[in-house]
C-alpha cells in the first residue's frame, strides 16, 4: 500500500486526517445537539401556560393555554393517586384569564367532577397532552403542582 503513497511526509498526512477527524467530531456533536433540542422542543411543548387551582370532593379546577396556538383548546387529563380518571378539552369559561391579559378568549379552563373515592387523603394531578411526530407520540406535561385533598366518610 505504501508504494502508491505520494511524497508527503507521513506525519503531515496523519495530522491532516486528525484535523478531518476533529472537524467531523465537532459536526457530530452539533448534529446530536440539534436533534436533541429539536426533539425536546417537538415532544414537549414549551408554550403551555396554566395552573391547577383546586382539588377536593367538589371537583378539580384550573386552566391551561397553548401560547403558540392560543385559539386551540388543550386536552387535559386528570389522575388521582396515579390512576387515570378522565380526559377532556380545556374549554371551560375562565373570564379572569382575559382580565389578567393571559388570553384573548375565556374558554381555557378545565373542571372535573370528583370521582368516587374512599375516605382518606388523595393526590390529584392534571396533565396537558401534547401530540407530536404526526401523532406518533403523546406527551403529558403536568399543569401546576399536585394537590393533596381529604375525602371524609
Amino acid at each position: 500500500m505504501d508504494s502508491s503513497l505520494p511524497k508527503i511526509p507521513k506525519v503531515t498526512r496523519l495530522s491532516r486526517i486528525a484535523r478531518y477527524l476533529i472537524l467531523k467530531s465537532i459536526l457530530d456533536v452539533i448534529i446530536v445537539g440539534v436533534f436533541a433540542v429539536s426533539f425536546y422542543y417537538s415532544a414537549f411543548n414549551p408554550h403551555f401556560r396554566g395552573w391547577f387551582d383546586e382539588a377536593g370532593e367538589q371537583g378539580m379546577k384550573g386552566w391551561v393555554i397553548d401560547r403558540s396556538q392560543p385559539d386551540n383548546r388543550v386536552e387535559v387529563q386528570l389522575y388521582v393517586d396515579d390512576h387515570f380518571v378522565e380526559s377532556h378539552a380545556a374549554d371551560y369559561p375562565r373570564p379572569d384569564l382575559v382580565t389578567a391579559g393571559m388570553s384573548r378568549d375565556e374558554r381555557h379552563g378545565f373542571s372535573f367532577n370528583a370521582p368516587r373515592l374512599a375516605a382518606g387523603e388523595h393526590e390529584a394531578r392534571v396533565y396537558a397532552v401534547h401530540a407530536s411526530g404526526v401523532g406518533a407520540r403523546r406527551a403529558l406535561q403536568m399543569i401546576g403542582v399536585p394537590i393533596k385533598f381529604n375525602v371524609g366518610r
Partner: protein, 243 residues
C-alpha cells in the same frame, strides 16, 4: 594524534548512533500515531452510522434525506482519509483484476450461508415475504450492499489492518462493527456478525468490493424472502426496531 583520531571516530559513531535512535523513535511515534488515527477513524465512522440509526432516523420519521446527514459526513471522511493517505480506489477494493479470485473464495461460504437461511426459513415457516417482488428494492439491494461493503471492508477493514495487521483480530473487529450496527435486532446482529467474519477474512485475501457486494446482496435477498417477518421485524435496526 591517535587518541584524538580515536576520540573523533567515537564522536562520529556516537552522533550516528544518536541519529539512528532518533529515527527509530520518530518511526515508532509515527507508527503509534498511525494506529491511533486508524482507531479514531474506525470509531468515527461507526459513530456516524449509530447516530443515523439511533438519533437522526427515529426523529426524522420517514424523511430518509435527514437520516443521510451523518452518513454523508462518514463518507466524506472516508474519501478525504483515502486521499490524505494517498490511497487509490483500487487499494480500497474497487477493482476487477481479482474479481474471479474473490468469487472463488466466496462461493462455498455463500452457498453454505444460503442453505442455512433456507433451512431456518423452512423450520420457522418462512418464504411468505412479498418484498422480493418489489423490483425497485431488488435493484437497489446490490448498490446498498456495495456501499456497505465499501464502508465495512474498504475503510474499516483497511484501517483495522493498520491497527492490528492482517489476521483474526482485525477480522473480529470488522465483524463486531458490522454486528453492532444491526443492534438490537437479534437475528440480523447474529447474521451480520457471521457475514462480517467471512467477508472480512476474504477481503484480506482478495480485496474486491464487487464480489463481496454480490454475496451480500444475494444473502440479504434470501434472508428477506426466507425468514418470517416476525423474526426480521422489517429489517429494522437501531431505535426504530424498538418502536
Amino acid at each position: 594524534m591517535h587518541a584524538g583520531e580515536s576520540n573523533s571516530l567515537s564522536f562520529r559513531e556516537t552522533v550516528k548512533e544518536e541519529k539512528l535512535r532518533a529515527n527509530d523513535k520518530g518511526e515508532a511515534v509515527s507508527v503509534l500515531s498511525d494506529r491511533l488515527i486508524a482507531a479514531w477513524e474506525i470509531a468515527s465512522v461507526i459513530i456516524s452510522f449509530m447516530l443515523a440509526e439511533w438519533v437522526v432516523r427515529p426523529q426524522a420519521g420517514e424523511s430518509k434525506l435527514i437520516g443521510a446527514v451523518p452518513l454523508s459526513l462518514a463518507f466524506i471522511l472516508m474519501f478525504l482519509s483515502h486521499r490524505a493517505r494517498g490511497l487509490t480506489a483500487r487499494d480500497a477494493g474497487w477493482r476487477l483484476d481479482n474479481l474471479f479470485a474473490a468469487v472463488r473464495l466466496l462461493i462455498i461460504p455463500t452457498i453454505f450461508g444460503a442453505l442455512l437461511i433456507i433451512l431456518i426459513g423452512k423450520l420457522t415457516g418462512g418464504f411468505n415475504s412479498t418484498k422480493p417482488r418489489d423490483w425497485q428494492w431488488v435493484l437497489w439491494l446490490p448498490l446498498w450492499a456495495l456501499v456497505q461493503q465499501y464502508a465495512l471492508q474498504g475503510f474499516i477493514n483497511a484501517r483495522a489492518q493498520i491497527l492490528w495487521g492482517r489476521g483474526w483480530r482485525s477480522i473480529l473487529l470488522v465483524a463486531c462493527a458490522f454486528a453492532l450496527l444491526h443492534l438490537p435486532n437479534p437475528w440480523l446482529t447474529l447474521a451480520t456478525f457471521a457475514g462480517g467474519l467471512i467477508w472480512a477474512a476474504i477481503y484480506q485475501r482478495a480485496p474486491n468490493l464487487f464480489a463481496l457486494a454480490l454475496s451480500h446482496a444475494l444473502l440479504s435477498l434470501l434472508i428477506v424472502w426466507a425468514l418470517p417477518a416476525s423474526i426480521l421485524n422489517s429489517l429494522r435496526v437501531g431505535f426504530r426496531y424498538l418502536g
